[in-house]
């Protein structure tokens, strides 16, 4: 366990913890949505400092973890086309598809590049007119404006060798899918701070109201997380269910309107398959009709068989908050970061990898 003095604001950490212990009278289950938050909670040993009757479960907020097997297969199909340079954020390369991962595909000769930004892929398209550049556009609402912007820029530059494989996911429909599950045990959510920097707070209000569930928009540092937990528990103890904002230094009620406008100009909302969870209606973005020439699915006429998910991986139950990583029979045995069976063991923001990496230190 970390010592309190190692935190950015040790006194505040201690004060929030004291207050949480003081006000908690009943058992509550809270879910943090964002994988960055999961990582921070586990790595900083916060789970061990909370009162015993507060259970934190770890949500689906990691794009690496929720991108479906079929989409990975589509990515591999594209990467294996002649004259294609397939570009991706680094985290996606090790995610297992139905037969292999992008990393294995790269090892057998496909031109796959790891980029920091989709805008670099546009640059690559400009510099390589004889190649087709495809960017793997994954991510939550935070990443959508950047991916959309890459399409707008490519269109302005009149590039006909740039396209994206979009597999965007959206937070509010996922929350609803979790809350409406008959086995749901979650009493409150910590929503993801940076997602709300873009989208603002309003779209969470109908969810909080419909399911009588407090939602606190929260940052990812220990102090933020503890304050977010405190705000959520306060509401629960008082029987309230509001949308509150802990992350006021980055989140405004209306979000970043320019970013939202760019998203809406390029993407249309569609149904999306979440790995382990299944199809959630209206939970993703696909390239819209106007920009269809930049949609890699259309451009390359992708038509491959939808693969089944690996039945040995219980990631769906973990991301719905029904199970903890250690309850998976494969955890640490057949499934390790070096040989991931499922996606949450791949990314450091995946719950399984976080538990595996820090369990020895933090006894979670």
């Amino acid at each position: 366990m970390k010592y309190l003095s190692e935190y950015r604001d040790p006194e505040m950490v201690e004060a929030f913890l004291k207050e949480i212990h003081h006000i908690t009278t009943r058992p509550w289950t809270l879910m943090e949505i964002c994988g960055g938050q999961t990582h921070s909670l586990v790595k900083n040993g916060i789970l061990n400092m909370l009162p015993a009757n507060i259970t934190m479960v770890h949500g689906p907020g990691c794009p690496v973890c929720v991108t479906s097997v079929s989409v990975i297969d589509e990515a591999i199909f594209l990467a294996e086309q002649p004259h294609v340079i397939f570009c991706s954020f680094g985290d996606m390369l090790r995610v297992p598809g139905s037969k292999k991962s992008l990393l294995e595909c790269k090892a057998s000769g496909a031109d796959i590049r790891i980029l920091y930004s989709p805008l670099e892929a546009v640059q690559l398209a400009k510099n390589n007119p004889d190649k087709q550049i495809v960017f793997f556009a994954v991510g939550f609402e935070t990443t959508a404006p950047s991916n959309a912007l890459s399409v707008v820029q490519a269109a302005k530059l009149e590039l006909n060798n740039y396209s994206i494989l979009a597999s965007h996911v959206l937070v509010p429909p996922a929350m609803e899918a979790i809350l409406s599950d008959t086995n749901n045990t979650i009493n409150a959510f910590l929503a993801a701070g940076h997602v709300c920097t873009i989208m603002g707070m309003e779209e969470y209000e109908p969810v909080a109201e419909k399911y009588k569930c407090p939602i606190v928009i929260t940052g990812f540092e220990p102090v933020d997380l503890l304050q977010g937990i405190l705000m959520a528990v306060k509401q629960l103890e008082k029987g309230e269910h509001k949308v509150e904002n802990q992350y006021t230094r980055y989140v405004q009620r209306e979000g970043n309107r320019m970013a939202v406008d760019i998203i809406n100009s390029v993407f249309a909302v569609n149904d999306r398959v979440w790995r382990g969870i299944g199809t959630i209606p209206n939970s993703g973005y696909e390239v819209n009709e106007q920009y269809k020439n930049y949609n890699a699915r259309i451009k390359f006429n992708i038509d491959i068989e939808k693969a089944m998910e690996n039945k040995d991986c219980i990631s769906g139950d973990i991301m719905k908050g029904l199970k903890k990583p250690k309850q998976c029979p494969n955890f640490g045995a057949k499934c390790k970061p070096e040989h991931p069976l499922g996606a949450p063991m791949v990314s450091s923001e995946g719950a399984c990898a976080a538990y595996y990496q820090y369990a020895g230190i933090n006894h979670v």
């Binding site: 950015r8 964002c34 994988g35 960055g36 921070s40 790595k43 907020g61 990691c62 794009p63 690496v64 954020f89 680094g90 985290d91 590049r113 790891i114 980029l115 920091y116 930004s117 989709p118 805008l119 670099e120 640059q123 690559l124 991510g139 939550f140 935070t142 990443t143 404006p145 950047s146 912007l149 707008v152 820029q153 302005k156 993801a192 940076h194 920097t197 873009i198 990812f220 540092e221 230094r249 980055y250 970043n256 320019m258 970013a259 760019i262 990314s347 923001e349």
Partner: protein, 85 residues
Amino acid sequence: MCLAIPGKIMSISAQLDETFRTGLVTFGGIQKEVNLCMVPEAQVGNYVLVHVGVAIGVVDEEEAMKVFSYLKEMGEVHELEATVS
């Protein structure tokens, strides 16, 4: 990949139109060309929160410094090192 990292705008490199406003941003020594179209109010010397090459918000200096050192300590800034090759 989902993180946003704060950095300081060193110069505005290009302003072709509303989607092509870019600037050079430094993240504790690592410099990156960043798109600034979603933060029209940001000027040279300001700190911006950058996510995969695009600034999504403006932050004050003190906050930016604190967040950056926290991220560095957590080993979260390596993604800045992936570049076009």
